[in-house]
Symmetry: C2
Subunit: 146 residues, 2 copies
């Protein structure tokens, strides 16, 4: 349940579409949603919000630091709530599940490498593509509805 202030602090008016979109991400703290996922969820919930508005909101929220954007190899951009602490991703090649992790040693090594090459890191993307070791992997799960 986001408050109007979450948006106003970023100079954005607290409109109904924006509040609803932000709420979707707060209700799904560890999912990674595409613009279309968000749009479908809104429509399914009976809300008449345009896809263009979803794209605009996602872009603004990312710039405001409320959301983080990721480009996995699917071709579509996915968004998730920005919870402050940085993390990287591991995507299961069998079921698309996304696991998050963060390794300080890798982070440190990255900075060292960049420094050695004459650069200062502003951001990075690390995504591991892997297969489940145990057979319990729930291949291709059902898709989001609420």
């Amino acid at each position: 349940m986001p408050t109007p202030k979450d948006l106003q602090q970023s100079g954005l008016k607290a409109t109904m579409p924006r509040m609803k979109i932000l709420e979707i991400f707060e209700n799904r703290r560890d999912e990674h949603l595409t613009a279309d996922d968000v749009y479908r969820i809104l429509v399914t919930s009976g809300l008449d919000i345009g896809l263009a508005t979803v794209y605009r909101a996602l872009t603004q929220f990312e710039q405001a630091g409320l959301l983080q954007k990721q480009n996995f190899e699917s071709g579509k951009a996915v968004f998730e709530l920005n919870r402050g602490e940085h993390h990287d991703h591991l995507v299961c090649l069998q079921c698309d599940r996304v696991v998050e992790f963060c390794d300080p040693e890798i982070e440190k090594k990255q900075s060292e490498i960049a420094a050695k090459l004459g650069f200062k890191i502003q951001a990075h993307d690390l995504c591991l593509y892997a297969e489940c070791v145990d057979a319990a992997c729930p291949h291709r799960p059902s898709k989001k509805t609420l």
Copy 2:
């Protein structure tokens, strides 16, 4: 200068369009080209090859292991020659220059992390986005022509 065998070994006929496209990558061993970059280079060189053919060739070459595909945050896929040894990328935020590197320690840590999470890594993408430390960074260089 690619030979017909490079393609035939992968079950692909050694046609003129394919040979020319492969040649472009061999002449630019450390550039990262989009489908449109390749198309433009062909047209500029007076070759009448369709954009669809470029896309088909790039996809086939990637599957054949001749090229590697990368998805940076630009939204367009870029391709480069597959020179066997794996490497990661650092993209300069000022001039789009791409520097390649490989760190065995990071690679090792990645496998450990995946193993701990119950996965076996098949692939990974690591891309650092950074700014030049020295002012010599050639901001926004001219674009490819041959």
